[in-house]
């Protein structure tokens, strides 16, 4: 069923949701948010697009196989855990890099924790979309 209102609103909402999902992901370290919920919000954007258009168009818009994204996410999370091995600390211990840090401040904190969260984001995003695409295709 094509609905003009839904299709029009979707154009705006998809972009908003995708930006919001990245915001939720980045915010997640210290505040509510994180990779899991970010991935869900990101997947919602494409689910909305699927409902407004079709599975095929959503797949075309995504360009890559969501199952591959999910598996890559698992790999990214695993690599983030392995990074602590280089500094001889136990598996999954967070490693931090404070870019442009001036005395007292933390500058731009980059960490394996964030990388792990990005892995989770990809795994959830890809996993949910794989499921939804498979379910929608049956109909």
């Amino acid at each position: 069923m094509q609905s003009l209102i839904l299709t029009t609103a979707t154009r705006l909402l998809v972009a908003l949701l995708l930006v919001f999902s990245v915001y939720a992901l980045l915010r997640g370290h210290n505040l509510p948010g994180g990779g899991f919920i970010g991935g869900l919000i990101g997947a919602t954007a494409f689910i909305l697009y699927t409902i407004a258009t079709s599975v095929r168009e959503a797949q075309a818009a995504l360009r890559v196989d969501p199952a591959n994204v999910a598996m890559l996410g698992v790999g990214v999370a695993g690599l983030a855990g392995l990074a602590s091995g280089f500094v001889n600390e136990p598996f999954l211990t967070g490693q931090w890099l404070f870019l442009f840090a001036e005395d007292g401040g933390k500058g731009l904190p980059l960490s394996t924790v964030l990388m792990f969260d990005i892995g989770v984001y990809m795994a959830v995003f890809g996993g949910i979309l794989t499921l939804v695409f498979a379910l929608e295709q049956e109909i």
């Binding site: 199952a67 591959n68 598996m71 890559l72 698992v74 790999g75 695993g78 855990g81 392995l82 091995g85 600390e89 136990p90 598996f91 999954l92 211990t93 967070g94």
Partner: protein, 499 residues
């Protein structure tokens, strides 16, 4: 602080990722092979470290126990990981020939590696809630493997499998919640100390029974085993083999771990229930096997009956009994996976696993017949194969406690095991094929023949080695049993109060 317990987890995960990304090319399956070889190496390194240094512990993210997630390998956990890797490697090599490219494109190897990931995790974790997570990893990946390809029969078996396992999961989770409410910790080593402080021992026994039911479903104990014969004969043989080898044994492992480390308060009550569950499991399993008429179904029922022996060893709760349980666990994984592999080859060259529709294997494939006899006799407990020692120790432990009925029943079950093995022999190997087919191994392409026979030969050789030179294995099982009965080393190493 060691990285060694981490490798058996991270290797299968990375292998799963890579083999999934390359699932459309032959590279995917070779990544799977290489990854499993790496897993075998890593687990052997872990094992040798455990043998030399005692319990090896890793605290994830550098959070000290009991607050973080602990990985801990003692002798039992270490040997189980090694056996997992061996079975995994055999299965991956076997599947090179058996699994069609269609299933590989659906992600067969990734699911298989995820299963190994879950199994290794369950053997290594030192945290009860984490154990639940590993069970979920195993459940999801095994469900995927079970229904991969999506035939009606597979879905039927898969639904039963998943439903009953979910019931077990809920039971397990409720038990965990109650235990946390009572003790305030879920780290297994910490629990070992915490349960001694609990005043309401009645509640503790109730929780113990919940765990017994939860793991009983996983291990296919009487009366909770129905899902197993309903599902194990449906998927590809490589999948049945790894399920038969590993999955139920994780349940037995979890029983051994929790009922030696945590629930040893009211042994007279919990272990007596377990004892009779084990005995009835043995008997019903073997009777079920005697009634079946399909190669893989007979073998499925045998798993149940053999699980009875292992749990019996635990339920007797003597050093000898536990030693028997450990020995049996290791022996059984090798033998059972091998029998399924043989069934798969028989299906491939003779066309079916239905015993009334195959035959002539002895006349035309004598090598296969010989390789069937080794695990079959070992399963039934013929000297000098590995099964003889396993059964001998368990029965001896029962006799030492003067449990004549239990000992007599377990010997009778051994006899009935031989009966159903002769049934397979008498139908599949001895008479001519009903359709006049001559099932020869040479009818298979050379590559397939190597991939199918190599795991069978290797596992049969392993059975013979354990059987002919049992001394180091028995000593090992004895040490593992001592460590289980006196977990001081485990507890102090995990909690970091090292001398």
């Amino acid at each position: 602080m060691s990285w060694l317990p981490v490798y058996p987890l991270i290797i299968p995960v990375m292998t799963a990722v890579l083999s999934y990304l390359f699932r459309n090319s032959p590279a995917g399956r070779w990544i799977s092979v290489v990854g499993t070889v790496a897993l075998l190496l890593a687990s052997s390194m872990l094992m040798s470290e455990v043998l030399e240094e005692g319990v090896v512990v890793a605290q994830m993210s550098n959070w000290a126990a009991p607050f973080g997630i602990t990985l801990a390998a003692d002798l039992l956990g270490g040997v189980m990981v090694v056996i997992t890797a061996i079975t995994g490697l055999a299965t991956v090599i076997y599947s090179l020939s058996e699994i069609p490219a269609r299933l590989e494109r659906l992600g067969f190897h990734a699911l298989l590696q995820t299963l190994l990931f879950g199994v290794c995790g369950a053997f290594l974790t030192g945290d009860l809630f984490n154990l639940y997570v590993w069970f979920e990893v195993m459940l999801i990946s095994s469900f995927g493997l079970l229904v991969l390809g999506g035939s009606r029969e597979q879905l039927d078996g898969g639904i039963k499998y998943v439903t009953l396992n979910l019931v077990s999961t809920i039971m397990f989770l409720s038990g965990i919640a109650l235990l946390y409410g009572v003790t305030g910790t879920l780290n297994m080593a910490d629990l070992h100390l915490a349960v001694r402080e609990v005043e309401d021992t009645g509640l503790l026994t109730t929780i113990a029974i919940m765990f017994l039911v939860a793991f009983g479903v996983k291990a296919a104990l009487f009366p909770l085993f129905f899902w197993l014969p309903a599902s194990y004969h449906t998927p590809p043989v490589a999948v049945s083999a790894i399920f038969a080898g590993l999955l139920t044994k994780v349940g037995v492992y979890a029983l051994i771990r929790t009922f030696t480390l945590i629930f040893d308060q009211d042994v007279g009550y919990t272990h007596t229930i377990m004892l009779w569950m084990a005995v009835i499991t043995m008997v019903t399993g073997v009777l079920g096997a005697a009634a079946m008429n399909d190669f893989r179904r007979i073998l499925s029922f045998h798993i149940i009956s053999q699980i009875g022996y292992m749990v019996l060893g635990l339920a007797l709760y003597t050093p000898l009994g536990l030693m028997g349980a450990v020995f049996y666990l290791v022996h059984h994984i090798i033998v059972k996976a091998n029998l399924f592999f043989v069934a798969g080859v028989a299906k491939r060259i003779a066309g079916s696993t239905d015993l009334s529709r195959i035959g002539g294997l002895y006349a035309h494939a004598p090598l296969l017949a010989f390789l069937f006899l080794i695990p079959a006799f070992s399963l039934a407990g013929f000297p000098p194969l590995s099964g003889f020692w396993a059964k001998y120790v368990v029965v001896k432990a029962a006799l030492d406690l003067e449990m004549w009925v239990v000992a007599a029943l377990s010997l009778a079950v051994g006899l009935l095991t031989i009966f159903s093995m002769t049934k397979i022999w008498g139908a599949a190997f001895w008479p001519d094929h009903p359709d006049g087919i001559k099932p020869r191994l040479s009818s298979l392409p050379i590559g397939d023949r190597v991939a199918l026979m190599l795991p069978i030969v290797a596992l049969a050789a392993l059975t013979c080695i354990i059987g002919l030179f049992p001394e180091p294995f028995v000593q090992f099982a004895e040490r593992a049993a001592q460590q289980l009965l006196d977990p001081t080393d485990y507890v102090t190493t995990v909690l970091g109060v090292r001398p």
